[in-house]
Subunit: 463 residues, 2 copies
């Protein structure tokens, strides 16, 4: 909620920005509502205005103006964040970067590219098609690459290619006072000074605004092969994954669902899949390695007790197989239509996964709630969709409590509160438990970089 | 050089630390000389004392004491840094961490381990042998893992596994005021808060002391195969590497030497290798993929004009082949026995490598100096050993000037002053050119974390 003093300062800033931005400065309720929500289950809070920027210099102008008047700035890409990263809890200016959508260069020989922050991953991959290269982070949302960098996003191929942490080689950022800096570069490695690139990746707009990115690309694999493997227990599925990672099979994706999620998929997609813990697997590489590793994977799965293994023999069958995975969230929500779902996001060492999931499922069972599970099992990251009726105080409290219990459990196993969704407002309460005194170091850095606390204030931690 | 006031404060600190450390506090000239030199070509400067620590708590005690008295602290691992990182230009305490050498845990299922900072990479790999896992960063020096993290080191297998940047999952660090923090953790990915792990990796002891590391391990490949390929031009070698990276061959190492380096090797190792640009290549993976990719690589090399390709048919032949690469630095120095060599360390986008090397070789030729070249070509990183007689002012000036010209050239191509040796004192003068206004952000972070400027002061940048 914007307090009166902030609102006055915001009015001043709006008046100062109006001559530059004209009708790219929006104050309609509809525009502000669209920019203050996101995909989170948390309550909406509106910015005082939305500014549609088109260059780093324009971003610098907005930031310098807001900094001088101590007005919050909330960077906005596609609005797909799910932990409340874009909710304007202190009002201020929503900085809409979606118009900064130029692909600045593609360097095929060096397998890198430079893009503005508002380019979406789909758009980049469309542009790259003719080069034989692609950018691998494939999260579910139609997100911008700037937003994905700011939240340190990952996806189903992270088991092979890494997350935004691993694929951003450098960036342009605008600091709160309007200074424009460049970090990193196009060299594949560097030992030159502090790693500012990684400081901005995952900082969720609290240190400045990422306006350009240099990204590492990969070659499209010559062949892909998919299969679905059903196990009597989660342990069997997890053991298979551990073994496959250790011998270095050419895994491209490896995704897990629990029995309840499989039931939800069968209902939603009218399929007849075994309602037991299941792995979706994609292997990718050269024509010679894929069939070889596929046989090895099937052997590992059988050794771990797989009850059914179904290869996708055609591209069409593979698409159908992955569509069941892709629609899992919709299938989960359809178990109780019209109600809310909190998506958990812990990530633990893979060997702890069965124990972590087993323990939290016993907690959930005791509450009577339903929470289907989907996991990026190769990373040790999984999501429970905690289905609850927000008009039922008891269910709401139980869902929130389970979220917290799961984070504590993951931390006790050496894991993290969030594998890929970020902190925002939703995970802020767990930061002290996860980071201990390191949280104070984060605060010291925030104060040094953003002394007026204008950049997305109140996100990740309070000062 | 320690000024008088610093020396007085250092005496106070030594008196305060003596009761705790006893004969683990060294003030002999021999000990101080050993700790103030390193492997750099820069002049030695001695610390006032050396403290041999054995735990994070002891590190915290030393740092808190030095912080209260504003006495510099210089972390010391194996003393193998080559840009003057351990030279005590402001005196103070050399903090010898080599006694913190416990391997705390090895988690084979999760493919990670936790070690104290003083463990060397060889020691860790010896301990890992029975697990089938290994830690891949294989730089030439007998370095500690803490030192490797602090300088963001890499090695010949970085083309496949990445550098310390990519393999440190988390760490324990002691801050200048003695606070002990933990960053990151054992989860394979996390979107939880600022990436403090990457902030410490590469900070060269200027923000605090890394005392423990969580490292990502990899499975030993089932098979390896090596070859040596000789090309008429650098372009041919570089084109082969670009093509091999794009189609994703299972490269484990790919190293380049120029004609002069090959001449040096032939003289030193009494070999009869073609004295033209040469690639050492190791492919590694499963029994099925290695022979397949080897044939593909040979085809690519032939297409690019290779004049000779020599497979190592036995393990003994492979060892011999790689020994010529390993001894390259000694071979280079033997071209002019008894004189000094500055090792350059720029890293550029791979497609710019031939142009970068060609331009600097023309500059070198005009000076009459000799500078054999070895490169981690898969990363775009190469080292010229600029051989010069330090008693000859003209040669010394020329060698320094070439080092600077090369950095400017690399920066103009989107590269970096240092791919893997770090900044220390040797590359400090190029930081403003490389980072522009981002250097001021590094300074702001340094001031926030180390307000008394006790941690390795004067390294990377001046405040």
């Amino acid at each position: 909620m914007t307090d009166t003093f902030t609102a006055c300062r915001a009015s001043d800033v709006i008046a100062l920005l109006r001559p530059t931005f004209g009708d790219r400065l929006l104050i309609s309720r509809a525009a502000r509502e669209q920019h203050g929500a996101g995909e989170s289950w948390l309550p909406v809070a509106l910015p005082d205005a939305v500014v549609m920027v088109q260059s780093s210099d324009e971003v610098a102008h907005v930031l310098a103006t807001c900094n001088a008047h101590r007005v919050p700035v909330i960077p906005f890409g596609a609005g797909s964040s799910i932990e409340g990263q874009i909710i304007a809890i202190n009002g201020g200016i929503s900085l809409d970067l979606s118009g900064m959508d130029r692909i600045l260069s593609v360097n095929a020989a060096d397998m890198d590219c430079c893009v503005e922050c508002g380019v979406t991953r789909q758009r980049l991959n469309d542009e790259l098609r003719a080069t034989g290269l692609f950018f691998p982070v494939d999260l579910g949302a139609h997100a911008t690459l700037g937003g994905m960098a700011a939240t340190r996003a990952s996806g189903t191929t992270t088991v092979r290619y890494g997350s935004m942490r691993d694929l951003v080689m450098g960036l342009t950022a605008v600091l709160p006072d309007g200074q424009i800096i460049r970090t990193g570069g196009r060299a594949r490695k560097s030992a030159s000074g502090y790693d500012l690139t990684h400081l901005f990746v995952g900082s969720e707009g609290t240190l400045g605004v990422i306006t350009e990115l240099t990204l590492r690309l990969h070659g499209q694999p010559a062949q892909r092969q998919s299969l679905l493997a059903s196990f009597p227990t989660l342990e069997g599925a997890a053991d298979t994954v551990v073994a496959a990672l250790q011998i270095g099979l050419c895994l491209n994706r490896i995704e897990l669902a629990d029995a309840l999620q499989m039931l939800a998929i069968n209902r939603y997609a009218k399929t007849d899949l075994p309602e037991t813990p299941t792995l979706w697997v994609e292997l990718a590489g050269s024509e010679i390695v894929v069939p070889h590793d596929l046989s090895l994977f099937e052997q590992l799965a059988q050794d771990a007790g797989a009850v059914r293994i179904e290869r996708a023999e055609t591209a069409e069958a593979a698409n159908h197989l992955w569509r069941t995975r892709h629609d899992a969230l919709y299938a989960a929500r359809a178990l109780r239509p019209g109600i809310k779902g909190i998506s958990t996001d812990v990530c633990v060492p893979i060997s702890s996964l069965p124990e972590c999931i087993g323990q939290i499922q016993r907690v959930i069972a005791a509450t009577g709630l339903h929470a289907p599970l989907i996991g990026h099992v190769g990373d040790g990251n999984f999501h429970l969709v905690l289905l609850f009726d927000p008009s039922d105080a008891k269910e709401t409290a139980a869902a929130r409590r389970i979220n917290g219990t799961l984070v504590e459990l993951a931390l006790s196993m050496g894991g993290t509160a969030t594998g890929e969704h970020g902190v925002g407002l939703g995970k802020k309460g767990y930061m002290a438990a996860e980071h201990g005194p390191a949280l104070d170091l984060m605060r010291a850095i925030k104060r040094a970089v953003d002394p007026e606390n204008i950049m997305n204030p109140g996100k990740i931690f309070d000062l």
